[in-house]
Assembly symmetry: C2
Homo-oligomer: 170 residues x 2
């Protein structure tokens, strides 16, 4: 990983321990998201796996044979994101992309043995990040936070969809 002075750490902490205006939840979510990604990325890098690839591996460890479209929905990203990641993962021989039953449109994704074997190696790393991140937070507060995030996700998904509908009125 990268050599890095820890001015960064200090500045993030200082930043949030000064004044946190009541209406700035969004910034906290963004900072937390970036730091979570960075922590996991550092751990995954030791095994040659990027953050983006890991998010698809996770899904495939549970269910193989999904189409690219289905994988996109499951991962919560747009198709081009999925496409790019899967092409790279294919090149790294983590997955295979196969047409099934003579359907030449849908591409189904399967893990290679190599991709499958990473499960036991990488899963603990993600658990470790979650454990570290939530150290000192009570189970009750975790639940409340999860519910708040869930509410935000619902509210925003609806908000974004409403915008799209207005645009596509014709």
């Amino acid at each position: 990983m990268a050599p890095n002075n820890n001015r960064e750490t200090q500045s993030v902490l200082q930043h949030w321990h000064r004044d946190v205006p009541n209406d700035r939840m969004a910034h906290m979510v963004r900072d937390a998201s970036r730091l979570l990604a960075k922590s996991l990325q550092g751990r995954l890098a030791d095994h040659g796996v990027s953050f983006g690839h890991w998010s698809f591996l996770r899904i495939l460890w549970v269910t193989e044979g999904l189409t690219q479209r289905e994988l996109s929905e499951e991962a919560g990203v747009m198709e081009p994101t999925t496409f790019t990641a899967l092409k790279a993962m294919e090149a790294k021989q983590l997955i295979e992309r196969r047409h099934l039953n003579g359907n030449r449109r849908k591409l189904h994704i399967f893990l290679t043995d190599k991709g499958r074997a990473l499960k036991d190696v990488l899963t603990p790393l993600a658990e470790d990040v979650n454990r570290v991140a939530l150290a000192g937070v009570s189970e009750e507060d975790r639940t409340t936070t999860r519910n708040t995030l869930l509410a935000m996700i619902d509210n925003l998904a609806i908000d974004n969809a409403a915008d799209s509908e207005i645009d596509s009125n014709d």
Copy 2:
């Protein structure tokens, strides 16, 4: 904005309303962060401002004359991110970059009238996103969530810094 069917919406909701494993806070934070960014981005786009530029404008509306380095710390991003954003913002005549007191190393950032005038236009948009996102969440739960996020940010900043220190041991 983009025409968009709302399959996306449904999939995000379905995704999180199925099984949310106890140790997957990170995914919720990431989803929430992406949706928050997207919501704000849609609103800012109507005024020709990108999400990245807005995050520096916010800081400058409070304090002008910071150096690029100081702005990076304040925004919580690395210097190249700041550099790229500020160059683009300069080209759009939202800011000016000036050397002060004969110091030819530090560059201080100042708003143009145009950049300054955006404050009253854009601030309500961010407030709107926060309001929409947190609809139906009690003040108590908001506070708990904020505290949890703050704890996560602290924990992770320390974790990332610890990694860096190990790397730069020599």
